[in-house]
Amino acid sequence: MRASEIRALFAVANRPEVVSLAGGMPYLEGLPLDVIAAAMQKLVATRGTTVLQYGSGQGDESLREKIVDVVRLEGIDCHPDDVVVTTGSQQALDLVTRIFIDPGDVIVAEAPSYVGALGVFRSYQADIVHVPLDEHGLVPEALEETLTRLAAEGRRVKLLYTVPNFHNPAGVTLSAERRPRILEIAQRFGVLVIEDNPYGLLGFDGDPLPAMRSLDDQGVLYLGSFSKTFAPGYRVGWVVAPHAVREKLVLASESAILCPSNASQLAIATYLETCDWQGQIKQFRELYRERRDAMIGALSEYLPSASWNVPDGGFYTWVKLPDGLDARSMLPRAVTARVAYVPGTAFYADGTGADHVRLSYCFPTPERIREGVRRFAGVVSAERDLVDLFGTSGAQDPDLTDVENPGPNLA
């Protein structure tokens, strides 16, 4: 089954009959839309000629000042000059990769990794080498071993890509104890760290862990986003970068898009100024915690033959299927059963992952999540009968270069 077939199967997922556990859309219905609308109205009425005009390549200064406040919640102490605003942190990934990667350069990334990052890395012909993670995140020993081996092979490793908090798709968090160790190893091997952190403020218990960037202001490019903590429609993310990199990022961004949207940036700056954004994030955390509980409860009840982690934040559960199942070839059966998920192969650059699926709990209500897992369990059970019958097992992804995740607007 090729990727285009998989992507076509996702087309049913936005139908109301289908419970989609495949998407990554945040749940926006809790936002104070009337307040936001009034603020937008006022913004255009009073500052329209600025809002609708070109802006600076680095991003609006007033917003960058606010971003400094946001990242301080994770212990980052930086200056507005260190911040480059981007069109979602997806563009930040693109700019960083464009600046650093020549074809054949190595990017070390967790196994599994965020599918959107893998897509960017591939498009710049980076060679992606996976390093395993466990329930405490990226494994330092494995990282060191991999970097040592790559160095011995004479490979040029430029970047380490990591999602330290509430990993997409694995759901795990890099422990506080491991953070300095990972940074030390990266520094020793001369590898720059991309700390991709869209979910850091969406933890269900306790305060956010200190960002890796808070421990190292030279070796880390920190990527942040308002997409999960506010709204992805504005497409505003940012990079906190060391001085030398920041200038290059601004030039690269100017050549790509001239400047990020002024309308979006000023809208978000207004939101941060006039609304209780921290209270809103707290509400989101409670909402997503309830959904996580629904997901885990339903998995325990309906799918005891599988295994999964219990995420402490973020949007995703990473489920290991019973032996022999292939998440890709099972997808048509899931569509017939009116449930959607993302096959694990999407999150690996080496063709593995068919034994896992990513189930998201961000968008559907708790009742729908339970129903979705119930359907999914039926799919797994029927597919198990089938693979037992024919004695097949999970297959390698036949094409490592294709895109087999759903589009961003999938529920």
Binding site: S4, P332, L386, L389
Partner: protein
């Protein structure tokens, strides 16, 4: 248009296979007459809850655009809970179900439209049901003297009862290799595998049964892959020029809908006799299966120049890379005018049959 696939289309001798009898917009063959009324308002059904939803949405948009270009008011609607109230409000002259898979091609939508007394384009419910079940369709055309590759139909439950390997061994023993495994229902090559080695057969069965409970396993015939579209004209069904498909690898879902992997020749590079033969076979299949309006028959022309029937589509794809529109263009037909003639026929069919 103007996609990469489009530019690969070879359209030489474009008029060679055109029938002069096909309804044309400026002629009066399809659009007037005592029982004919003009079509002003069409509802195109696209989407649905099938594995082929995406293809259907693309087909629907293409047809809607082409029809709008002829001045018809067109609405595109999904098959969902709001459809029947919508039809009641809009009161279209005719509905064109461009649904692929499931309720679209199995005839259910036709049943409902007939219950509601709404005219629609295409094959009626009973014939749809037969045509969209591949083994039944093969049986019917076999009865009409058309060749089709030798095959067996096996439900998953049978493998459970008898054990998988003995049954697969028997299949290979009788039909040999290579084989094609496909779900008995559904299109766009979803769940279809070309199997060259016996050890790959179990995997192909799993991929097939993930789409449906019954598998059709047929002998893979080497030859030229051909699709022949058929349109009902005033004097009966007429074949459009055959389209030849040359794929790098299998003509799978990816090759069908992503420009670049497949090269189409429209009309197909066939001798005049074989071109006539494949057209004749497609028309005979259309008639034998009781199809109406339009259809597309997929064939292989084997080494002896014989057309072997593979399957028929009562709702052929209409996307920018699909075969029916390519055949129409190879015939020198304007798509808008052709689609207009097709909906005009749909609107008047019930009147004519009363």
């Amino acid at each position: 248009m103007g996609t990469a696939a489009e530019s690969l289309t070879v359209t030489e001798d474009a008029t060679e296979n055109v029938s002069a009898d096909l309804p044309t917009p400026d002629g009066d063959t399809g659009t007037t007459g005592p029982d004919r009324r003009p079509v002003e308002r069409v509802v195109v059904l696209a989407g649905g809850l099938s594995h082929e939803r995406e293809v259907s949405l693309r087909s629907g948009r293409r047809v809607a655009d082409a029809l709008r270009g002829t001045g018809i008011e067109v609405f595109v609607h999904d098959v969902d809970a709001s459809l029947l109230p919508f039809l009641d409000e809009i009161k279209p002259d005719v509905v064109w179900p461009l649904l692929h898979g499931a309720s679209g091609e199995d005839g259910s939508i036709g049943d409902v439209l007939e219950l509601l007394g709404i005219d629609y384009v295409g094959t009626g419910p009973r014939a749809s049901r037969a045509a969209w079940n591949k083994p039944i369709a093969k049986n019917v055309v076999l009865g009409a003297g058309i060749d089709t590759p030798d095959y067996v139909t096996l439900p998953q439950s049978l493998f459970r009862e008898l054990g998988a390997q003995p049954v697969l061994d028997a299949v290979v023993g009788r039909l040999g290799l290579p084989l094609v495994v496909k779900p008995t229902r559904g299109g766009s090559a979803l769940g279809v595998t070309l199997v060259r080695r016996a050890e790959d057969l179990p995997r192909a069965m799993v991929d097939c049964f993930s789409y449906g409970d019954i598998a059709l396993i047929e002998r893979a015939v080497e030859g030229t892959e051909i699709a022949v579209s058929v349109v009902d004209g005033p004097d009966g069904p007429e074949a459009l020029p055959a389209v030849e498909i040359v794929t790098d690898g299998t003509y799978d879902y990816d090759a069908r809908y992503n420009p670049g992997r497949t090269r189409y020749y429209a009309p197909a590079r066939l001798t005049p006799e074989i071109a006539r033969h494949v057209g004749d076979v497609a028309v005979r299949a259309h008639v034998a299966l009781g199809l109406r309006g339009l259809s597309r028959t997929d064939l292989i022309v084997d080494a002896d120049g014989n057309a072997q029937f593979l399957e028929v589509n009562v709702a052929p794809g209409m996307t920018e890379t699909s075969l029916f529109p390519q055949a129409a263009q190879a015939a020198g037909r304007d798509l808008g005018d052709l689609y207009r003639a097709i909906v005009t026929q749909g609107v008047n069919r019930r009147a004519a049959s009363r």
